[in-house]
Amino acid sequence: MIIKKLVDIWKKTGTVACVMLLVCLALTLGSAITRGPYLLVNVISAGCMLSLVAMGLALVFGVMNIGMFAHGEMFMIGTLVAYFVASPFQNLLYEEHPGLMVYLAPLLAVLAAGAVGFVVGVLVELLLFRPLRKRTKGNWVMNSFLLTVGLGIILVNGHQIIFGANYKAITKYLPGGAVDILGVYVSPDRLAAIIISFLVVIGFWLFMSKTRLGTAVRAVSQDETGSLMVGIDLPLIFTLTMAISCGLAAVAGATLHFMYPSYPSVGLEPTYLSWFVVILVGLGNTTGAMIGAFMVALFKVLTVEYVGSGWDHVVPTALIMLILIFKPSGIFGSAVRSKVDQ
C-alpha cells in the first residue's frame, strides 16, 4: 500500500524531480566526508518544521480555495505563546536538580501554542471567511487572498502595538549539552523539534486517512456540492480545516522558538518558504507539500553551505522559478485547485 503510493508519487514527480534530486545528492555526497552529516541534520530539522507549515497552507488551499498569506503570522503567534509559557521556567534550566517541570514546560508551551493557533483559526474562519463566503459569488480566490494579506498586516502590527517590536527570546528549552548521534552533535532542542514535528505529521496523516472527519475534509477538497449531498456539514469542515492549518503553523513556531525569537515579522520567512513549497509541488497537495518541504530545506541548506548565507532565499527561488517555467502546474502536476489526497 505505502510502496504503491511511493511509486505513484515517484511517477508523478517525473524527470524534473529526478534531475534535481541527483544534483542535490551529488552535492551532499561530495561533502559527505566532512560536513555531510551536519548538513543532513540541518535538512531534516528545517524540512520537518517546513512540513508543518507547508502542509497547513496546502490544506487550506485544497479544501477552502484560500491562498493564505497570513500563514506565517500563525507561526508568529506560536512563537509568542511559547515565549510567554516557557520563559517563566527558564531559571529552572540552571538549577542543580530542576525536576520534571523543566521538561514539562516546553511541552506545555508547544501544546498551548497549538491550542491558541487552533482557536485563532476558528475565529479567522468565523469572523472573516464565513461572512465573505456568503457575499462573494465569483472572484473568491482573489477576494479571500486579499483578506489574508490584510489579516497578516493586522497581526504583525497588532503584535508590535501590544507586545512591542523587541525580540522576545528564550535561551533554550531543554537542559543539557548537545547529543552525539553518529558523530554529529545535535542540541536537545533541535532533536525534540524533529521528534515533535515527526509525531505531528504522523498524527495529521492518521487524522486525514483514518477518521470520519478527516475523510470528510478530503471529500470537501474534491467536491463541495458532492459533500453536501452526502450529508457533510460544510461550514464545520471549513472551520476545522482552518483551525488545523493555523494550529500546525503555531506548533511549528513554538517548537522552533529556541531558534526564532518572537518579534512582529518573524512569520515572514515561514510564509515565503511555505509558499515556495506549495508552488513547487502544486497548490493544495498535502503529501506533496511534505516532500516539497524537504526539497526546499535541502536547497536552502546547500545554498547556505556552498553559496553563502545571504543567498539562502535567492537560489531556492531561482530554482523554483526555473522549475515552474518548465512545469507550471508544479512537479506533482496537479491542477490549480488540487485535491488533498492523504
Partner: protein, 236 residues
C-alpha cells in the same frame, strides 16, 4: 402527502426561475418531471435537496418543513439528490465513494448491509470497487452516483437526468435499478428526464414544467396519451 412543495418560488440571486411550483409525491411513488431545456427542472430538485434556498413557499417532507435547510440536513432527513454532474469524489475509489455516501449512517453493520445491497444491484461497481471514480466510464459513474445516494438509506431519491449520455441498454439498466428500488425498498423516486416516452412508460405519475411553472400533471399513461404532450415531447 409524503413529500410536497407548496407554492414554491426559487431562483438564483435576483433571477427567479420557479413560480408557484406544487409537486406532491406519495410514499413509494415513482414519478417524473418533464419539460424543455432551461425551464427549471434541475432548479426544482436543487431547491428540494437544499442546495438552493427557496424564495417563497414551502417544501414539506413527512409533515416537516425542510425548505431552506442546508443540503446536509436534508440528507439526514432522508431525501437524497443525484445531480446531473454527479459530483462524485473523483480521487477516491468506488468503494470509498460509497462509504462517503453513508456519511450520515453511524451503524457499521447497517453500512455493510447497504454496501452489499448496492453491489448486488450494480454488479459492475462490485467488479470495479478499487478503481478511482474519476476514471470510470460515464455509465459506471451514473451507477456509482445513484449507489452512493442509496448508501444513506434515503426515503426519497431525486435523480436528475439518469439517461443523459447513456446508451439505450445502459439507460434500461439504470431505470430497472430505480424500479427495483421503488418496489423492493418502497423508495419514493422523482426523476427529471428528457426522454419522455421511456420515462412516462416507467413511471406512475408525471409533471410537465414550462418556464418555471407546472403546466400539466397526472398519471403517466394519461400524459403519454395526451395530444399536446405527444406533439411537444414525443414528436408524434
Amino acid at each position: 402527502m409524503f413529500l410536497k412543495t407548496e407554492a414554491l418560488d426559487a431562483g438564483y440571486g435576483f433571477l427567479q426561475i420557479l413560480r408557484d411550483v406544487n409537486i406532491c409525491l406519495e410514499e413509494g411513488e415513482f414519478s417524473c418531471l418533464l419539460g424543455p431545456n432551461g425551464t427549471g427542472k434541475t432548479t426544482t430538485l436543487k431547491t428540494i435537496a437544499g442546495l438552493i434556498k427557496p424564495m417563497k413557499g414551502k417544501v414539506i417532507f413527512n409533515g416537516q418543513e425542510i425548505g431552506g435547510l442546508a443540503g446536509n440536513k436534508v440528507v439526514q432527513k432522508g431525501v437524497v439528490y443525484v445531480s446531473e454532474a454527479l459530483n462524485l469524489f473523483t480521487n477516491m475509489s468506488v468503494h470509498d465513494n460509497l462509504l462517503m455516501g453513508a456519511f450520515t449512517v453511524k451503524d457499521h453493520e447497517k453500512i455493510k448491509k447497504r454496501l452489499d445491497y448496492v453491489y448486488d444491484l450494480f454488479q459492475r461497481l462490485k467488479q470495479r470497487h478499487g478503481q478511482l471514480a474519476g476514471t470510470m466510464s460515464g455509465g459506471e459513474r451514473k451507477m456509482l452516483a445513484i449507489a452512493r445516494g442509496l448508501m444513506s438509506y434515503p426515503k426519497v431519491i431525486l435523480v436528475d437526468e439518469p439517461s443523459f449520455g447513456l446508451s439505450p441498454q445502459m439507460t434500461d439498466v439504470v431505470f430497472d435499478a430505480l424500479d427495483v428500488l421503488n418496489r423492493e425498498q418502497n423508495l419514493t423516486v422523482l426523476v427529471v428526464e428528457q426522454n419522455a416516452t421511456k420515462t412516462l412508460e416507467a413511471t406512475k405519475n408525471g409533471y410537465v414544467m414550462e418556464n418555471g411553472v407546472i403546466v400539466m400533471s397526472g398519471a403517466s399513461k394519461d400524459l403519454l396519451a395526451d395530444e399536446g404532450i405527444q406533439k411537444t415531447y414525443l414528436g408524434l
